[in-house]
């Protein structure tokens, strides 16, 4: 499919939060949760629900009321609001599986302080219309949860040999994959993969464009 460079750039800009400027892989936000929270798929799904529940409303609040509160007060309000939402959301999440909060540990309540919240509201939401802020919040949390779920699937399958609790036939089981050090290394590799993929796509499309121009003349 000869997708031209313009189409590619437009597609990327429309899905800005998910593939092009992924908050975790390219932006480097919310790394502690991406490293420690992805030890099992259940954790990842719980965290992504929490992400959706906290980021989207907060972007709305930021774009509407956030501009007028002074800086230090504004941040504390966001964080307290996020913590309150997390308390509320913890009931539906508790239904996923009884031991969810023990395996998540502190990383569920850390969602209140994660950097996607603090940075996206500052950089984007303050000078954007409420609708655009909400759409951006949706895109970012979608990108965030996509990355987390993919990493969680890989780490759980290789680490425990189970997926969502049910055993899966795997070649080799490395229990040390669930430790924090492998989280760092695995996230580093994923960031490198994302960067490599975008370079590859751009260079191939630019080459097609050049080749297209040459044949055109």
């Amino acid at each position: 499919m000869k997708k031209s460079l313009k189409n590619y750039r437009e597609a990327m800009s429309r899905t800005r939060g998910i593939f092009a400027q992924n908050p975790v892989l390219i932006g480097g936000l919310a790394l502690p949760i991406a490293i420690m929270g992805t030890t099992s798929l259940m954790n990842a799904v719980a965290l992504s629900i929490a992400a959706f529940a906290t980021i989207v409303p907060l972007m709305l609040v930021a774009s509407t009321a956030g501009k007028y509160i002074p800086l230090n007060l504004r941040r504390t309000c966001y964080v307290l609001l996020a913590a309150a939402i997390l308390c509320g959301v913890s009931y539906p999440i508790g239904k996923i599986s009884p031991g969810i909060f023990d395996s998540l540990g502190i990383y569920y309540s850390l969602m209140a302080v994660n950097t996607i919240l603090l940075y996206r509201t500052e950089t984007y939401a303050h000078h954007a219309s409420p609708l655009a802020a909400v759409v951006d919040g949706l895109r970012n949390s979608l990108g965030f949860s996509l990355v987390i779920c993919v990493m969680a699937i890989l780490r759980e399958v290789v680490g425990k040999g189970t997926l969502w609790g049910r055993p899966v036939q795997t070649a080799i089981v490395l229990p040390s994959v669930l430790l924090p050090f492998f989280g760092f290394i695995f996230l580093g590799m994923c960031c490198a993969g994302a960067k490599g993929l975008s370079h590859l796509m751009k260079s191939r499309l630019i080459r097609d464009k050049l080749r297209g121009n040459m044949q055109g003349e």
Partner: protein, 198 residues
């Protein structure tokens, strides 16, 4: 009195080296990589995290004591600790505005980011979950702050070294620093030897 000092020192040491905020719990990674660009910012970030953890651990011990009496579930207690942090942060900001208004204007942004930080919040929750004594909580907070500053120095030196060597194009920037921190946490994991209560 003596054993409280002993727990204080023991917990400071464990929080500093064994349960290091950055390497064993990956607590402040995203802020460490985005916020800390120069030596000045590094010590500012580390210092403000240390001050925040030690001061707010006082308040959080009191909050922990009451919330355990009232029997709130885990999430509600987490919100209580967050309120302690915000209160301490506001008090600090008010003190800063009165004493050094000029510096406060410049450092307003960095201070607010390093105060509302996963390292501060995480260390409070852990010390309250383990139900340490008052001296223990303060020691744990102090240890987290100092441990974080030391690991930030290590990462800062590592980043200067990495900027110098010709890393492949794909790994330049964020990925290689993450792998560098990962290998360091692999080295420090040798001290622990078993899985940490997360």
């Amino acid at each position: 009195m003596l054993n409280s000092i002993l727990t204080f020192v023991a917990l400071t040491f464990t929080a500093m080296v064994v349960e290091n905020a950055l390497f064993s719990r990956a607590l402040a990674t995203s802020k460490a990589l985005i916020l800390v660009r120069s030596k000045k910012e590094l010590f500012l970030f580390g210092g403000s995290v240390t001050v925040m953890t030690t001061l707010s651990s006082l308040l959080s011990w009191v909050a922990n004591y009451f919330t355990r009496q009232l029997g709130w579930n885990f999430q509600l207690r987490a919100v209580a600790f967050l309120c302690c942090i915000c209160v301490v942060y506001q008090v600090l900001c008010a003190a800063m505005v009165l004493k050094w208004p000029k510096e406060y204007e410049q450092l307003k942004d960095i201070l607010s980011l390093s105060a509302l930080n996963s390292a501060v919040f995480g260390s409070l929750i852990i010390s309250s979950m383990q139900n340490y004594s008052l001296a223990g909580t303060i020691g744990y907070g102090l240890g987290t702050g100092i441990g974080l500053t030391i690991s930030l120095i290590l990462v800062y030196v590592g980043r200067k070294n990495l900027a110098m060597s010709n890393v492949p194009k794909v790994f330049k920037g964020l990925p290689i620093v993450l792998i560098y921190i990962g290998i360091l946490s692999l080295a420090i994991y040798g001290l622990i030897g078993h899985q940490l209560p997360s």
